[in-house]
């Protein structure tokens, strides 16, 4: 009985080797860094992971779909900016506290629409999503600067930033939000027709077309989900800051993609999972947090991070190593 359990656990782990790594670094830092192994710190890690984590949820869909979205960092900034700014609009003052809701919806809508725009361009023009969203990464960041005139915006009440540091029971609200969203996306991906089609389109686009899946609109929906989560991450981050800055979210796309790929999603699409993505996000967050607590000098943090990324990959490869009987490619 326990043998079977053991077996299926091992199989699970070999499909998600990143979780093995998460456990290893967690144990390592628990011994190596003071203050690491504490509930408060675990909460910190979850909150810190929530930003990249939320982006990663949507981006995982986009990537399994065989596309990529490099503009998520810029969308994050734009959504945060819009939401924070709208709270202070005179014209909306009559709404009272409801302005917060309107502002949040507006921010999320911005993200969703921009994601949709990316998707639409990818669909209609047939230009590779990499280049479309690379352009959008620059362009949307430009929009942010045009909108903000290079200034940071500041949430007028601390209520907004208090949300960022509030808790539900023992867990920080943002961590709860992140985990709840992860569950929703996991279910979407593994249980719904849309989710299964996401794999189909990414795995073999031609086959999906031949089978009558409306690939274009399907991709647009996923880009919209990607944009939505980037925006949500922007809101989550801006509640932590009580402000938005035009430079926020820079280079997040690269780290998010790294987390997702570490989690086992293929850049070419067709495979991947939220469980893996979660592992990838946690791995990076724990590394960052642990090295802070260990006071690794900042120059060395970069080197360690780089080396570990590659090491994880090598480990993964080693675990999943094909037998000698496979063709040596």
């Amino acid at each position: 009985m326990s043998d079977i359990k053991n077996n299926s656990f091992v199989r699970w782990l070999s499909r998600n080797p990143i979780w093995g790594f998460v456990v290893i670094v967690f144990v390592f830092f628990s011994f190596a860094a003071d203050h690491f192994f504490a509930l408060q710190n675990v909460e910190n890690i979850l909150v810190q992971a929530s930003t990249i984590g939320l982006i990663a949820l949507g981006l995982t869909l986009v990537m399994i779909n065989g596309n990529i979205d490099l503009s998520v960092g810029a969308i994050l900034a734009l959504a945060a900016t819009v939401t924070v700014d709208m709270q202070g609009w005179e014209t909306l003052a009559f709404l009272g506290d409801w302005v917060l809701l309107v502002a949040v919806l507006a921010g999320l809508l911005c993200g969703t629409l921009l994601g949709g725009l990316n998707g639409l361009i990818v669909w209609k023009t047939g230009v590779d999503s990499f280049i479309v969203t690379l352009g959008a990464m620059l362009g949307i960041r430009g929009l942010v600067f045009v909108y903000t005139r290079e200034q940071s915006f500041y949430a007028s009440s601390f209520a907004y930033s208090d949300f960022g540091s509030s808790s539900i029971g023992p867990l920080p609200t943002l961590a709860v939000l992140f985990i709840a969203c992860a569950i929703v996306i996991h279910v979407l991906l593994s249980r719904t027709v849309h989710g299964r089609n996401t794999y189909a389109v990414g795995g073999n686009r031609e086959a999906a077309v031949n089978a009558g899946i409306r690939v274009g609109p399907h991709m647009v929906v996923n880009f919209m989900i990607g944009g939505f989560f980037a925006a949500l991450a922007g809101l989550a981050l801006s509640t932590q800051m009580g402000a938005s800055t035009p430079n926020m979210g820079r280079e997040y796309e690269l780290w998010t993609i790294t987390a997702i790929v570490l989690g086992g999603t293929k850049l070419t699409g067709g495979s991947g999972s939220i469980v893996g993505t979660l592992g990838g996000v946690l791995a990076i967050s724990i590394l960052r947090n642990g090295m802070n607590l260990m006071q690794v000098p900042s120059f060395y943090v970069l080197v360690v991070l780089g080396v570990i990324l590659i090491a994880v990959l090598a480990l993964d490869k080693h675990l999943n190593r094909r037998t000698a009987q496979e063709p040596a490619l």
């Binding site: 023009t125 047939g126 230009v127 362009g139 600067f145 045009v146 274009g216 690269l254 900042s298 991070l305």
Partner: protein, 326 residues
């Protein structure tokens, strides 16, 4: 000539595939129309000089991408190389400094190559890891300080960024020189054919007796070599270097490569089009500056231009404006 005729390929069909070239000419004309300085000889020379840095690296990265991989480490490798060559210049003289710099970048490239080529690790993560690690190593090396060349007026090192060869600015000579070399390598030599095959279908390449690992390894060495060349231009042009001088170049370079129609999936691409991609990016930036666009409006315009350019390119290849996907 009549070979083409019997093949059933008309000149028109071949021309129709040059969407990117058409986009480039269009862009030049538009900017030329709005700014009288844009097409001035001096300006064109200045832009070509500037684009040399991105351009040379873009050649190397094109080769890596055709081979089916990515190289995001070029940005921080450029930082490392520039810092190294500038720092060593005053200590051991330009010649040895250049030598050591090339050894260093080739070593970094070799690590990429071994990890991606022989150990078959995912190139995105490997080179992103390298990006991070090399940035750290550069900072550790300089202890976080800027490095400068003390005596800037009489060192022959100045030739790479500031001088010219036979009246043509050196960065331009290097850019086009490396481009021609790369083009010849890819289209006229067995190595190039193997790179295309490896990127196009790695399994078939192996089944055809191509040593896939070695080919990928070599593409990374080439890419590292081009980074070294760019570092010469950059270091000499600035006569100093910040630790993060190459930051962001990886995406710039990749944009130029993709703008040139090289597919990220590997197996297709063309150096000459990459050159046009580099020039488009360089001239857009310059043109927008000359037109006095506010900085961030420049980004918005770049967005539109990039998408329109690539769109024109893919549309010309498939002979229809809209993608056939339902």
């Amino acid at each position: 000539m009549d070979k083409a005729a019997t093949d059933g390929w008309s000149v028109r069909q071949i021309l129709a595939q040059q969407g990117i070239l058409i986009a480039f000419v269009l862009a030049m004309l538009v900017f030329g129309l709005f700014s009288d300085r844009f097409l001035a000889f001096d300006n064109i020379m200045a832009v070509l000089r500037q684009t040399g840095i991105v351009g040379v690296m873009a050649i190397g990265v094109t080769i890596v991408v055709i081979g089916g991989n990515l190289d995001l480490s070029v940005g921080s490798m450029l930082s490392m190389a520039t810092v190294l060559v500038v720092d060593l210049h005053d200590r051991i003289g330009p010649g040895p400094a250049i030598l050591i710099m090339f050894c260093a970048v080739l070593a970094a490239g070799a690590i990429n190559g071994v990890l991606v080529g022989y150990l078959r690790l995912n190139s995105l993560i490997v080179t992103l890891g390298m990006l991070s690690a090399l940035q750290g190593i550069t900072l550790i090396y300089t202890d976080g300080k800027n490095v400068d060349i003390a005596n800037q007026s009489d060192t022959w090192f100045a030739i790479f960024g500031r001088g010219d060869i036979a009246g043509i600015p050196t960065p331009i000579v290097m850019f086009f020189g490396v481009a021609v070399l790369g083009h010849v390598l890819l289209t006229r030599m067995p190595f190039g054919r193997k790179v295309y095959a490896t990127g196009g279908n790695p399994r078939t390449a192996v089944y055809s007796g191509i040593r896939r690992g070695r080919i990928v390894f070599l593409t990374y060495l080439i890419s590292a070599f081009t980074v070294g060349c760019s570092a010469l231009i950059l270091g000499s042009r600035v006569m100093g270097s910040q630790n993060n001088v190459g930051q962001g170049y990886e995406l710039l370079v990749l944009s130029a490569v993709i703008l040139g129609g090289t597919s990220l999936l590997g197996g297709s691409g063309n150096i000459l089009k990459t050159v046009i991609g580099v020039l488009i990016l360089g001239f857009i930036q310059n043109g927008l500056l000359l037109l006095g666009f506010p900085y961030y409006a420049q980004w918005l315009v770049t967005w539109v231009v990039i998408i329109l350019t690539v769109w024109l390119d893919v549309a010309s290849k498939r002979h229809s404006l809209w993608s056939p996907i339902a």
